[in-house]
Amino acid sequence: MRALVIDDSRTMRRIVAHTLEELGFSTVQAGDGQEALDVLESGDQVDLACIDWNMPVMDGLTFVTQVRSRQEWRSITLMMVTTESEHGQIVRALAAGAHEYLIKPFTPDAIRDKLDLLGLLPLEEPV
């Protein structure tokens, strides 16, 4: 499986990507929603997108809305990974089409649990 990690923080992208790779995903990264759309437009086949909310250029909520408006990207599982933890924000993201919501700070186990809930685990772990 392939995951797209979208966060303006290179640090956070590295942490999320490393965790996903340990779970058997291959990863591609983007620094904002527009870069992420460019990755999808390029034809990269992505199964999961982990999306920060607050980013320059295009925020995570706009990215979710854009992805959900395109039939060919319907199969992509969308998980917000963000500090935005107010109930209203979570409802907005889920209403826009996000499947899951993970609040920072998180542990690797928290990511694993969310992916398990989404039916994206277990993957064969890399050797």
Binding site: T11, M12, R14, N54, S85, E86, I103, K104
Partner: protein
């Protein structure tokens, strides 16, 4: 205006951030004993909250301690060189996650700015902070400061 966030809540958030993202196990972050020494070569990271109830959350420590924080966050080896870009990004992300969780405690929703990193936090519109945590992270003095405007 009454204070919408308690000191204990800020401490709990900071503890959770360090426990989940920075340290491999709990116990590396504790209250500083006595008065926190003023940093000689400070580095500060902060985010602002804009909205009906606005504020700022900042993390301030010695630049050397910020390097150690970045190494820990990025799972680098002790002594491994942290690039200036990684230092700003990693240290800023610590403030971002602390600030984002403080924002969630406010009674009204607001928006969070992107993190900023500099030698000093700019003067806050409301003057004195409402919370100043004096902390000891692996022997480094570290302050977490919250203003509500």
């Amino acid at each position: 205006m009454s204070i919408a966030v308690e000191t204990d809540q800020v401490y709990a958030i900071t503890h959770e951030v360090f426990g989940a993202m920075i340290d491999p196990e709990p116990g590396y972050l504790r209250p500083w004993e006595g008065e926190l020494p003023a940093p000689v070569d400070p580095l500060a990271a902060w985010v602002d909250v804009h909205g009906e109830l606005a504020g700022r959350a900042a993390v301030i420590c010695e630049t050397a301690a910020a390097h150690d924080l970045a190494r820990a966050l990025l799972r680098m080896e002790p002594g491994e060189e942290v690039t200036p870009a990684d230092l700003v990004d990693a240290f800023g992300e610590v403030a971002n996650v602390v600030g984002g969780n403080v924002k969630a405690l406010l009674p009204s929703q607001g928006t969070l700015t992107l993190p900023q990193v500099a030698a000093a936090v700019p003067p806050a519109p409301a003057g004195a902070p409402v919370h100043e945590l004096a902390l000891d992270w692996r022997g480094h003095p570290l302050a977490v400061v919250v203003w509500l405007f």
